[in-house]
Symmetry: C2
Subunit: 588 residues, 2 copies
């Protein structure tokens, strides 16, 4: 061992001990005859001190040469500090250095190793091993470790088995794009990396494992969007002989346990459960941020027939009621109008009504609506003096989506989205299918193994797009942190599902044949759920990006800048794999 103690553990009770520490130099203060050094490791920081008059000459000279991020081993005596630092766990003591050994020198780092670094993202990604020295990233990865351990222990205690499923599997064109892996031994053939262990966990249920989980990497070759990673981590779970409520209760228990142990927050009441339809109507999306209220109220009928063409012609009119601390100015309202008119949101305009503290309501459409009309609006949205009513109109789908964005923006502006406040809930009763508006083609909303609700089975033949599924998401602060479903375990329903999704019998057989076969030999009822672990840790750590809770993330172009990956292969590697690069567009 290069040390007797870590840099985080010495206290006044260790006074007079001779200790050896190893760590990185955070900073040095050289006052000529007196030098202070802050020595850092994962566990904390300890102040070292050396005085020229009492320190061995060679040691003192060596200390003078030490720079930021050098790795040193020092021996010295624990002494009481004159000026104690209450902000440091070791702030009562310092180490009077007796000898020093420079284990490893450091060039000047390209950015500061501090809570807030001066390095840009690309630079920090290139030197990720230095970025990872920053205390916030260390806290995040420690939190991630802790959460993973807690999840594993909780589920193990509940009888779940962690079973490793394979990474080299078979490509299924269903869903997102697979990453593939050429096989050298089987010329022209490929493995695929799993997008999730979905089919394997179902097979484990068929195999009688009863309760399965796995914290595992999944892979999706998507066009990168902000905060997507080609590889990400799922807490993947499945149970047999259960119904939807059993799953919700089990994983609500897990979630509460993690909240309590990690955040010290105890949820004594059951999580709110709202249906997909209600979530869409009240919040405009299926992952509502319930840290604040401000629900959407439909006022379509209330506003029609007053010669205001915009509303008269709209399929849907919806309102939000925001409690503003002071009256919104014209400039602020114009900015909100610009916000909803952005192409990503796509509203044509914003109507507002300000409920003055004097009780008078003034709107941007006063010439069409009488004070009594506006009073009725205020009643409809339960507005009170001081509130701001915001109204959007258009097609129902677009308007709800725009109201959702506007609601979140108002939440931001009014400081209602506190990172230290947590509002978990379940969204249930998702539709089984999404339907393409133009082609009418049906797509699985969750995946093709999701069970329709028993009560709606008869609709599969007559109106499949209306069928609701035993599918559910767990939502936290506006993010889906997990989702799952009861699975189909009846071969006939599964075949019907494939057929509704447009698979021919042959296609279904090639892609899912082994699962269909498995169902021939006694499949138990089963259901499951997967948490997006990266996102959950991101929210718990208060970070803005999942990149901040991963040790070695890719950038938004899917590149690892530090490794310079992906990279070209040697020609002989390609030859061994029987592969040639063919340009996408013909080049001569």
């Amino acid at each position: 061992m290069y040390r007797t103690h870590t840099c985080g553990e010495l206290r006044l009770s260790d006074k007079n001990k001779t200790v050896t520490l190893g760590g990185w130099v955070q900073r040095t203060r050289d006052k000529g005859k007196l030098i202070w050094i802050d020595l850092r490791d994962r566990y904390g920081m300890t102040q070292l001190v050396a005085e020229e008059s009492v320190t061995d000459t060679e040691t003192f000279a060596a200390l003078k040469k030490i720079g930021r991020e050098f790795v040193v081993q020092i021996q010295g005596e624990v002494i009481e500090r004159e000026a104690k630092n209450a902000n440091m766990a070791t702030g009562d003591i310092e180490i009077k250095v007796q000898s020093v050994k420079i284990l490893s020198e450091s060039e000047l780092p390209p950015f500061t190793i501090e809570e807030d670094s001066d390095g840009g993202e690309e630079l920090r990604m290139k030197y990720r091993y230095l970025d990872l020295r920053r205390p916030n990233l260390q806290r995040n990865l420690i939190l991630r470790h802790k959460m993973a351990q807690l999840v594993r222990n909780y589920l193990s205690d509940k009888g779940f088995l962690e079973v490793e499923t394979p990474f080299l599997i078979k490509s299924t064109p269903e869903g997102a794009r697979d990453f593939v892996v050429p096989s050298r031994m089987h010329e022209g053939k490929f493995y695929a990396l799993p997008q999730s262990p979905q089919m394997f966990k179902q097979l484990l249920m068929v195999a009688g494992y009863d309760r399965y989980f796995q914290i595992t990497k999944c892979f999706r070759d998507e066009d990168f969007r902000a905060d997507r990673q080609p590889e990400f981590t799922q807490i993947d779970c499945e149970m047999a002989f259960v119904e939807q409520d059993d799953i919700l209760n089990m994983f609500e228990g897990l979630t509460k346990h993690i909240f309590k142990t990690v955040k010290g927050i105890e949820f004594t009441e059951p999580f709110q459960r709202i249906t997909y339809d209600e979530s869409m109507e009240r919040y405009g999306n299926d992952r509502p941020d319930l840290r604040f209220g401000m629900p959407i109220t439909e006022i379509t009928q209330l506003v029609k027939g007053k010669d205001f063409k915009v509303f008269d012609e709209a399929e849907y009119v919806g309102a939000l009621c925001a409690e503003t601390p002071v009256e919104y100015t014209r400039k602020q309202l114009d900015a909100l109008t610009d916000f909803v008119k952005r192409p990503q949101i796509g509203s044509k305009g914003l109507v507002y009504a300000k409920y003055g503290t004097d009780g008078v309501i003034k709107s941007s459409v006063d010439k069409f609506y009488s004070p009594e009309d506006l009073k009725r609006w205020a009643e409809a949205v339960s507005a009170k003096p001081g509130d701001l009513i915001l109204i959007l109109s258009g097609t129902k789908k677009q308007t709800l989506s725009a109201l959702s964005e506007l609601r979140l923006e108002m939440g931001n502006q009014l400081g209602l989205r506190d990172k230290n406040k947590f509002a978990p809930l379940w969204v249930v009763d998702f539709p089984l299918f999404e339907q393409d508006a133009e082609t009418g083609k049906l797509y699985a909303m969750h995946h093709p193994f999701t069970s329709p609700k028993k009560s709606e089975l008869h609709l599969l033949d007559t109106n499949p797009a209306a069928v609701k599924a035993d599918a559910y998401d767990i939502v936290l602060n506006g993010s889906e942190i997990g989702g799952g479903s009861v699975r189909i375990f009846d071969r006939n329903i599964q075949e019907k599902m494939f057929s509704l999704l447009g698979f021919t019998k042959e296609e279904a057989e090639i892609q899912f044949g082994f699962l269909m076969n498995a169902f021939k030999f006694g499949a138990p009822p089963h259901a499951g759920l997967a948490f997006g672990f990266d996102r959950w840790v991101t929210i718990f750590s208060g970070s803005d990006s999942i990149r901040d809770v991963m040790a070695f993330p890719k950038n938004n172009a899917g590149k690892d800048i530090m490794l310079d990956a992906p990279a070209e292969l040697h020609n002989d590697q390609l030859a061994e794999l029987s592969l040639a690069i063919s340009a996408k567009s013909p080049k001569k």
Copy 2:
């Protein structure tokens, strides 16, 4: 919930309870007016009984239709059995069935779902979900889960952090072949799957994480040999500010903990530590099976000069002394001779000497050696009356290797390799390099980051092939279950190492540049170890193959027979990846 209890939990104390069970039908015994059914789940087996005279007609008819592996839900009353079965945890009770629901029918399985199945390996691999129902595989996967949990909790308690490292990395031609992953977004470029997280764990040490572990999948595209898998699981560990002894002590502690909790075996003494050189001399290999003695004794000098040409011309002569319960027959000795003459072993012949219980030693080379000569042989190998001395000769390297095989074979024949006996040990002081006998080229014995012993640094320039490394393996019952080394953390030594391994500066820079760069910014001394988790579980489970401790293994040709992977891709998938299949040998 489809059940109130599992099939493993009901006892006499539950008598008279009305319960609901779900599970698979193991077997039915239909005696006409009386039916017994054994219902199985992961937790155990419960006997159901129904009597025609007292059972509802419809229920009785349904029970009559039930076959093997049907999934059923039954309700009934717990009653005391007349004929108790002490071999079953639930053997004191049975369930008097009141109602039954067939949840899922089953075709007749293609092989029996029993401890010993009648299915061949290929068939069982194809129907892996049925194979996985067998109690031995269930025990193995439960054991695997338990061991992984214990490892994680032990290491977490010791301050280790589990950090996930990436799967999509960069190919390094060093070592075994990489599996690669074509990038769609970056035409003509590839990611590689990690052969181990080696460089990442070293970077985490540079980043100050201090104690890291991860139970993770690794990938090697090797030509498949018996019991190799293209993806396998490692318990990967690394520590900073430590020396070799710290690592050995830490992971010996882990190993003992797992032995104690899983196997109930307590090792109170430190594990034996033997050097690589000693292991080679005494056991002919670097992973000795110490469940039994029978070490190799060199007798080269003792046997020379008696006109026996074979020994006179041999570089090396070595002997084993086996304690045989009865005298080996001529036929047995001939079989041993055939064994050592097999091409894989390659000895030219076997010399033996039988130490009779009458004190007379008879050898196969009596005409060259006097009774006094043979007496001296017996003394050299500490033989006593009744023992069998086996002697091989030839070049030192080949002969030691052959003696190693012969020793293990004798261990098998004499029943000395009991699966319930465990002999862990450390092999230390491995050579830094392996040298190609013909070309003289040096290869890293562990990997290029392994540190030479400090005391031997000076030999790097003069005689690198003789340099010993701070490298160690942990060996159990003749298998290496883990290995590791102290790492180089000095940039100059690392560069020298790359140069000795024949890398140009440019090659080293392209492949390991980021690690070399990292070492510029303050690298702590560090060292680590990785356990081969599959092998460890295999030994603990008493299985013969790592395939028996993996849920979904590949066969020896790297194929997943159940999935039919690898498989051909759609042409448009290939086109998106800018790839074309090019035949290995030119086809016109």
